[in-house]
């Protein structure tokens, strides 16, 4: 150290945040959102939905061993996983849409990270007391009180974590059956692994990582600024009204000073540990707790509320220049997000409505490509799969078109006829099919397979090929 300059700090040390309890409109909204969202998460697996005898009756179920996903009236096979892509696109654009309209409402109210962190902070407060008590306890030397309080806090966190992980597995198994198994401690290793993993991740994310997740791990908080414009709802501190700030004693005059009494209530309640009076910051999850805190203070001082409030840049400027505040919900940005949502939603809806209850797949033999028979005709082999997506056993007729003198023969045990191929409910029928036909002109001729349900309306087709050699 030659010149005595302070060493550069490359990493910021994590400061623990002890959010203070707060009462108000947005706090109530957050409680309501938490109860609703956690309620959905914990109870949804127990909803029932009757699908008949050949399918599970759980409303929301991802059945990995059977490779089916159920969501109320929707049923998805692995071949239709593109619906998942659609859902993800919808979810992403809906998030962008909500962001451009109302700012980071997702972050503030609905994100699992926020909801579980909120729940964990609540547990912390119930056991250890409010902000000041918690800070004191954290600094206090180890003793009986600190030990049992921390042990109780962490135990409760782990219990919540276990419930979280325990509920997660219900989405992948029949919930009542699995619940009974869990009660009898008869849990498969895979399930146990998931419960433990999610117990641990919940404990870690909501107990320790908390705001660090939003600041350093979450990609959305980094790119949400791309969805922001001057009309996006943000948490704003009314600088013009608040400054110059200063301490206030009862009876002092409000002349020549701002309404901010520098009580730091807004800072103490912030779960992200920021000072909103410094302006819009990346860390701000727009939960509105600082608004509640400040409004409470303003009420006590008998000043109008709204020194900190949900605001837009446009409105801030309008107020500054004495113009009328206006909401600009309908903007180019919001309308094209809405248009994308409508478009993707319409495509998905169309897909779901027109989802065929039967699907035909035909795989042409690679080796040999074709077989010349003794009468000079050509035979091709195919692996045919028939997906019966209904919940009833069905029989189908397989027809081939576009070839001269084509005959279909099913190779397999027993005697199967192409006019009556049986496929069980909710199963894939696999058939070895030989097609014999006069030699077509083209080495690679078109062969159109048509599948029709016997005595039913459902049908599908597959455009395949019929190979033959040169003369």
């Amino acid at each position: 150290m030659s010149d005595g300059a302070a060493p550069v700090k490359l990493f910021e040390k994590k400061e623990r945040i002890f959010p203070k309890r707060v009462w108000g409109r947005f706090r109530k909204l957050k409680w309501a959102a938490m109860v609703a969202l956690l309620g959905i998460y914990y109870l949804a697996p127990f909803l029932r939905w009757d699908r008949g005898p050949h399918a599970p009756d759980q409303a929301i179920l991802i059945d990995m061993p059977a490779r089916r996903a159920y969501f109320f009236f929707i049923e998805i096979w692995p071949q239709e996983v593109y619906y998942l892509t659609g859902i993800l696109i919808l979810a992403a654009v809906a998030l962008f849409f909500a962001t451009s309209l109302f700012g980071r409402v997702w972050c503030g109210y609905a994100c699992p990270q926020t909801v579980w962190t909120d729940l964990f902070v609540w547990v912390e407060r119930i056991v250890q007391g409010d902000r000041v008590k918690r800070m004191r306890l954290a600094k206090a030397p180890w003793g009986f009180e600190k030990t049992w309080k921390l042990a109780l806090t962490h135990s409760l966190w782990l219990v919540i974590g276990m419930l979280t992980g325990g509920t997660w597995v219900f989405y992948f198994n029949d919930a009542p059956t699995l619940l009974e198994n869990i009660i009898h401690l008869d849990v498969p290793m895979g399930v146990l692994g998931w419960i433990l993993a999610l117990t641990f991740s919940t404990y870690l994310m909501a107990g320790f990582a908390r705001e660090q997740v939003c600041m350093y791990m979450c990609p959305y908080s980094r790119f949400q600024s791309a969805m922001f414009d001057r009309d996006t709802l943000i948490i704003g501190y009314d600088e013009k009204r608040g400054e110059p700030r200063g301490k206030y004693k009862k009876g002092d005059s409000w002349d020549d000073r701002g309404h901010c009494i520098d009580c730091t209530a807004c800072v103490q309640v912030c779960p992200m540990g920021i000072d909103i009076r410094d302006g819009l910051q990346m860390e701000c999850i727009a939960c509105g707790l600082c608004i509640d805190a400040c409004d409470g203070i303003m009420d006590k001082l008998e000043l109008p509320r709204g020194l900190i409030r949900y605001d837009t840049n446009h409105n801030q400027e309008a107020r500054d220049s004495g113009m009328k505040e206006r909401s600009h919900l309908l903007r180019l940005r919001t309308s094209y997000y809405a248009a994308i949502i409508a478009l993707v939603g319409a495509v998905m809806l169309y897909g779901l409505i027109h989802r065929s209850p039967v699907e035909l797949h035909v795989l042409h033999d690679r080796n040999p490509l074709f077989v010349k028979l003794s009468d000079g005709r050509i035979r091709n082999g195919y692996d045919v799969k028939i997906l019966n997506k209904t919940h009833e056993d069905k029989t189908y007729q397989l027809v081939i078109e576009g070839l001269n003198g084509a005959e279909i023969r099913i190779q397999g045990a027993g005697s199967l006829d192409a006019a009556a191929l049986p496929v069980f409910a909710d199963r894939v029928g696999h058939f070895r099919v030989f097609v014999t036909a006069d030699k077509p002109k083209d080495i690679r001729a078109d062969a159109h397979f048509r599948l029709e349900e016997v005595g039913g309306p459902n049908a599908d087709r597959y455009d395949g090929v019929f190979m033959s050699g040169k003369e």
Partner: protein, 290 residues
């Protein structure tokens, strides 16, 4: 060795003393959590040495020349176990497969699938070398997918052919030999009879009198209409499938000095069940008859 610590003035961190073009390397310690995990791994590994085969021994004694580990676990045993598991799974079918006739197997979906799967595997190991992986054969090696059979295409006959082979070292082997007519017929007669044979299956001129030559010399085995005879292994000359080529020159060459292929007997090399599976598999390729 170094006289005094070299401290980087900007960050306040000790350097390693290495310098490249004026850039010094900071000697940052590894993160503490990393170090703890590293030491935990070291401790953990000791457990492995005790429990599992770990160290080679100088004497080369012990299980495969190394320490055995207290659990007595080896990958060889693991392989044995998983093979035993497969065998057990197979044996569930094997007993009923052994007891069932070909007709019974063909009527039973599970047994049939078992037979075809086993036959397909055995085919690739033993037969694909000549008959090719899809059973399509090549010149001189019959295509097993088509409906033209030298010795017959029902399962029992296919089974017998696989069992005893063709012109193989087996007391009951199938045997046929076409005489070399190059010594017995003139070139003109050979050309005429070749022309006649072509006319049996393709539209062609049959005015040269080859029909008489055919009736005198060939019909005994290939039958009068040239349709051949499974009992003798005589090929059908009136169909569209040609073993050694369908041009006049090919046919004349085969009349003059016929080629004779050999198929080994599999009775001594494969067990009875495998041969039965192979017969069912070959029959399932598409050309099998009833």
């Amino acid at each position: 060795m170094s006289k005094k610590k070299d401290i980087d003035s900007f960050t306040g961190i000790e350097t390693t003393g290495h310098e490249w073009d004026g850039i010094k390397e900071l000697n940052n310690p590894s993160p503490r959590w990393w170090l703890i995990v590293f030491f935990l791994c070291c401790v953990w590994s000791v457990g492995y040495w005790v429990l599992y085969p770990a160290w080679p021994t100088f004497s080369g004694d012990g299980e495969r020349g190394g320490t055995e580990g207290s659990m007595g676990w080896t990958q060889y045993d693991q392989l044995k176990d998983s093979q035993a598991e497969i065998r057990a799974r197979k044996s569930a079918y094997l007993a009923s497969f052994e007891a069932a006739s070909f007709e019974e197997v063909q009527a039973d979906e599970a047994l049939y699938a078992f037979a075809v799967a086993g036959g397909a595997a055995a085919f690739k190991d033993n037969c694909a070398t000549c008959h090719s992986t899809g059973g399509a054969g090549s010149a001189g090696y019959p295509n097993l997918n088509d409906d033209d059979w030298l010795w017959g295409g029902d399962i029992d006959t296919i089974h017998e052919t696989i069992r005893v082979g063709v012109r193989a070292v087996h007391d009951e082997t199938r045997f046929s030999e076409m005489p070399a007519f190059g010594d017995m017929l003139s070139e003109t007669e050979i050309a005429d009879v070749a022309q006649h044979v072509i006319s049996l299956s393709q539209d062609g001129d049959d005015s040269a009198g080859g029909a008489q030559v055919f009736a005198d010399n060939c019909a005994a085995c290939h039958s009068e209409n040239g349709r051949g005879d499974h009992a003798l292994g005589a090929p059908d000359l009136a169909d569209a499938i040609w073993f050694y080529g369908d041009t006049k020159a090919d046919i004349m060459s085969q009349v003059r000095k016929p080629k004779h292929g050999v198929m080994p007997t599999w009775e001594a090399r494969l067990d009875a069940n495998t041969i039965r599976q192979l017969a069912i598999y070959v029959h399932s390729l598409g050309g099998g008859t009833n």
